[in-house]
Symmetry: C2
């Protein structure tokens, strides 16, 4: 959010006080194109772009970017984590139970109220409200009776 989406990745990294490395630059670039990626597919993208990239590096990069607030981790129940650029708009996610397809849902739209944060409960200090809507995408609704298409992690 502190950076427009078209800011040079290296600039974004420096602005966040992070070192500029190949995997990090490439990760930011790929995340811009890819939407919501899991670790495995991001690793494939990085390797296609850079050659050899260790699995550990992928996890490290994502952790660093996440900790810096540049990237947001989404972890739908029962599925590997996905990552997306953090645009600071605090949107939520809609996940298909059938195929795992994940789409963004804007916060505070229509019947969908945005949630208060910075609230206190049970003595807790709440800093984030994570909302995940579960349902069936059009495709999986169609094949609900004839389950022929194997669940696939689409974007």
């Amino acid at each position: 959010m502190p950076f427009p989406l078209d800011t040079e990745p290296a600039t974004v990294l420096r602005g966040a006080g992070l070192r500029v490395t190949g995997p990090r630059v490439a990760a930011l670039a790929e995340l811009r194109e890819a939407g919501h990626v899991d670790v495995d597919s991001l690793a494939r993208r990085l390797r296609a772009r850079l050659g050899r990239v260790s699995t550990q590096a992928v996890y490290d990069v994502l952790r660093v970017l996440t900790d810096a607030g540049l990237v947001r981790r989404i972890e739908p129940a029962g599925a590997p984590a996905r990552y997306e650029l953090d645009g600071g708009d605090n949107h939520h996610h809609l996940v298909c139970r059938g195929c795992g397809t994940l789409v963004d849902v804007p916060c505070a739209t229509g019947i969908r109220p945005c949630l208060e944060t910075e609230t206190t409960d049970h003595g807790f200090v709440v800093d984030e409200a994570e909302v995940i809507y579960w349902g069936l995408c059009p495709n999986c609704q169609a094949s609900a009776l004839t389950p022929n298409s194997a669940p696939t992690q689409q974007d």
Copy 2:
């Protein structure tokens, strides 16, 4: 929710069209006492009560009970899944980032709006809105500067 909390476990199972077995009866009984349990601690409880119970049986039982709507699975990001009796009240959860403590948060209380379900978006048919609030419990707030207590899965 079809059953009062004090209904005999065997009756609950039969009412849901499920077979009555030792592990299932014990699981329902333990879940009443335990609050939010992970698979491992439920397994320990079942073994203490019944003697030998396979890990697989624990997973099978929880899946069956979950599919039947008697039990609800909570899967906070980065932590093993927890299970609780499904009272049908559609409450949400508040998780401590420090120690993993999990507490219930009633739906539609004060600034906390209950979410619409049965809504359609992107062609999706939404059947559930899952909300997880993240924050710090009182203990972890206190030890935020002097992180001495190792994260523990409390209830």
